[in-house]
């Protein structure tokens, strides 16, 4: 089934990958909020990482200048994306790599499956990669009889737990140590039954479990944090060394990257290798960063394939306002500062891209209709904008997408969402002072619905709004009534 289009450009197709949830955000969020263990795990983890990030960002006297540079570099890369992609292809090819182009998730999965099959391997080791999760690559490999082993500790926890990632950086952030121990004991097969739940013991168990796979791996699969058009250099940033193992030991390396990951020039790495680790793990530098350009004889994989993926990115690019969502470097700083994310976690967003940036990016990749509740999954407090290392104005983009959705629904005359109805009604009421005042008088009747200043259920049709939100109970007197009592006349700003 084909997805709707924006300016004629296709969005990510339905029925493959993990960009769409099974249920709207408010429904999923209500269930998540009832999970006290999840909220404790999330609260502890996000508090810890916020403090670490603040400390290492505070060390740099030129942090704001780096953010400005990061924003400018990404904007330049997007403005000439076609030429940079061609340049990247030329450089990678010149150094012995093979470049493949994928219109969407189905293309990319088919390309990777064919490449693995051509090696004769039935197993592959994988570096943590959100883009391969976006396209559902593991499912496609499994359907072709190929076992993909996730090697990042958190991804391993998610894979062994038959679970979904819930955070960009720490996919198993929703699991605590006791839950992880239980998963390892149940699923690993080769683990000491006396395994404790200390993080060191759990990491050691993962090391032993994966060692044999690394040393005998024939095929490695990765994503990419950056790709330098000028030189054809790919870059993967990680902590555990599982990335180095997958990028170094197999004979064949397959890297899947979204076309927006491109940086124009080599020197740009000097900016992004400061912005990313400090924003992401809250470290001055992550333990390991690997860079490679094509093939190096005698060192590392001797077959290198680069898959360049669109999957809705060009549709996002066509939206000149929304385009900046493509600047995202997947640091997850916006998740960790978001009051909504901290309470509901990543699964409620339904997409591999959760949190504030996910609420923008997912609808842009799928078309807003397919993730229509996400642009409303925010209080627009602005903390995400302040934390973003490339200064993506996420609150403005959320509002932009809300407007886009209302317009698209109006254009297609479909049954609109509750939020769209509410906003359209509010617009009609607020456009006329008389209607506005009448509505306020009517609203005061709402005081009888409120308890403790909150209304939990409004009557239909407004019940659709309060199904996922409390509404404040209206005050006894409107501002206009108070003004008239204090100053006389018809009210502030009313001249007719």
């Amino acid at each position: 089934m084909s997805a709707p289009t924006f300016l004629g450009l296709p969005t990510a197709p339905r029925g493959v990958g993990h960009l769409r949830g099974d249920e709207p955000f408010p429904v999923a969020a209500r269930r998540a909020l009832a999970d006290t263990q999840l909220r404790r795990n999330l609260g502890k983890a996000t508090r810890t990482i916020r403090a670490k990030r603040a400390a290492v960002v505070g060390e740099l006297p030129d942090w704001e200048e780096l953010r400005d540079a990061g924003q400018a570099i990404k904007a330049g890369a997007m403005a000439h994306l076609d030429r940079y992609l061609e340049q990247l292809e030329e450089q990678v090819t010149a150094r012995g790599g093979v470049v493949h182009w994928a219109r969407d998730a189905n293309d990319a999965n088919r390309i990777v499956v064919d490449l693995v099959r051509a090696t004769g391997a039935t197993e592959a080791v994988k570096v943590k990669s959100i883009v391969t999760d976006e396209i559902g690559l593991n499912d496609a490999l499994a359907a072709a009889g190929i076992t993909a082993h996730e090697t990042d500790l958190a991804e391993l926890i998610v894979q062994l737990g038959h679970d979904r990632p819930s955070h960009i950086l720490v996919p198993a952030i929703h699991r605590n140590r006791a839950e992880i121990r239980d998963i390892f004991l149940r699923e690993m097969g080769d683990v000491d039954p006396g395994l404790t739940d200390s993080p060191a013991a759990l990491a050691e168990a993962a090391r032993l479990h994966l060692r044999r796979q690394f040393l005998s791996a024939k095929v490695g699969i990765s994503g990419a944090n950056f790709a330098v058009a000028e030189t054809g250099t790919l870059c993967v940033v990680e902590s555990e060394g599982n990335g180095r193992m997958c990028l170094t030991l197999p004979d064949t390396l397959i890297t899947v990257m979204g076309i927006e990951k491109i940086l124009p020039s080599w020197d740009d790495l000097g900016v992004f290798l400061q912005l990313l680790p400090r924003s992401s793990t809250g470290e001055r530098m992550n333990p390991y960063t690997s860079m490679w350009t094509g093939i190096t004889p005698g060192d590392g994989p001797q077959q290198f394939h680069l898959v360049l993926l669109d999957n809705g990115r060009t549709a996002a690019l066509a939206d000149q306002t929304g385009r900046q969502a493509l600047h995202c470097i997947r640091c997850s700083a916006c998740l960790n500062v978001c009051p909504v994310y901290e309470r509901v976690g990543g699964h409620a967003y339904g997409s591999v891209y959760p949190g504030p940036i996910g609420a923008v990016l997912s609808p842009m990749l799928t078309g807003v209709e397919d993730n229509a509740s996400l642009p409303y999954a925010s209080s627009l407090c602005g903390a995400c904008y302040d934390a973003c290392p490339v200064k993506i104005d996420i609150p403005s983009l959320l509002v932009h997408l809300r407007a886009r959705h209302v317009d698209e629904v109006a254009d297609s005359r479909r049954v609109p969402s509750p939020e769209a109805v509410t906003m359209a009604a509010a617009s009609w009421v607020m456009a006329s002072p008389a209607r506005y005042e009448a509505a306020q008088r009517g609203g005061r009747a709402g005081r009888v619905l409120g308890r403790g200043g909150r209304i939990r259920r409004l009557p239909p049709p407004l019940s659709a709004w309060t199904s996922a939100r409390d509404a404040p109970a209206p005050p006894a007197q409107t501002f206009r009534q108070w003004w008239r009592a204090e100053h006389g006349g018809t009210g502030p700003g009313v001249t007719q």
Binding site: T151, V170, A172, A206
Partner: protein, 228 residues
């Protein structure tokens, strides 16, 4: 239409509405780029730079020894003894002053420790080694980072990955203050590995645990000229 033509065509369609006056200059065109507003050069003198690097390495749980060129072999000997290493791999081009280097595939002995020059050891054979000694291409003081570029004395990437102990020798002249300075010194046509402390994970409740898949112990010897 090929997928390549289709994706590039979509990009051009998406960009067609752009104001041509906006955006950065396209590749290959003189941009008249202004100097970056962020720092591109450090201001510390060499001794302060080494102090900063040593402090940042220790902060992320690397071990650090400081020595002069004349004492390098003794310092290596002490580090290996403390580690109780028996079999250590050397990349080609790593000649320790006073010891020289055995031919590829051959071993030398230093205080009972076998030093074996890599001649194409398999991953399984490397897994049997107690450690590896390498040089580096550059070190970044502000972040406590060493960068290997597979040059002489550094070897292929697997050497500094599989053994559980990595002893890295850094010359004072290889130390820069800032990340952009390191990027400017490095060559993109070589495989690069940036290393900041031992292998680590924060995946379990964001508690940092050292030692997952890469070397669990990173030890750095800083070689200060003028002190030996």
């Amino acid at each position: 239409m090929t997928a390549r033509d289709e994706v590039l065509g979509r990009v051009r369609t998406a960009l067609a509405g752009d104001d041509p006056g906006q955006g950065a200059s396209p590749p290959g065109e003189a941009a008249g780029v202004a100097a970056p507003a962020y720092r591109t050069r450090g201001e510390l003198d060499p001794p302060a730079l080494l102090d900063l690097l040593a402090g940042r390495l220790v902060d992320y749980h690397s071990h650090v020894r400081r020595t002069g060129p004349g004492q390098l072999l003794d310092t290596v000997r002490a580090a290996l003894a403390e580690r109780r290493a028996r079999r250590v791999v050397l990349p080609p081009g790593l000649d320790l002053p006073g010891l020289g280097q055995p031919a590829p595939g051959q071993a030398a002995t230093l205080d009972g420790v076998q030093l074996i020059t890599d001649g194409g050891l398999s991953a399984q054979e490397l897994d049997q080694m107690d450690g590896v000694i390498t040089r580096a291409a550059v070190a970044v003081a502000e972040t406590g980072t060493i960068v290997l570029d597979a040059g002489p004395g550094q070897g292929r990437r697997a050497l500094s990955l599989i053994p559980d102990y990595h002893l890295c020798l850094i010359e004072a002249a290889q130390v820069v203050a800032l990340v952009p300075e390191a990027v400017a010194r490095l060559r993109p046509d070589r495989p690069l590995t940036w290393i900041s402390g031992p292998s680590a994970t924060s995946d379990i409740e964001l508690d940092r645990v050292e030692g997952v898949h890469g070397p669990r112990t990173l030890e750095v010897i800083l070689i200060e000229t003028g002190t030996g």
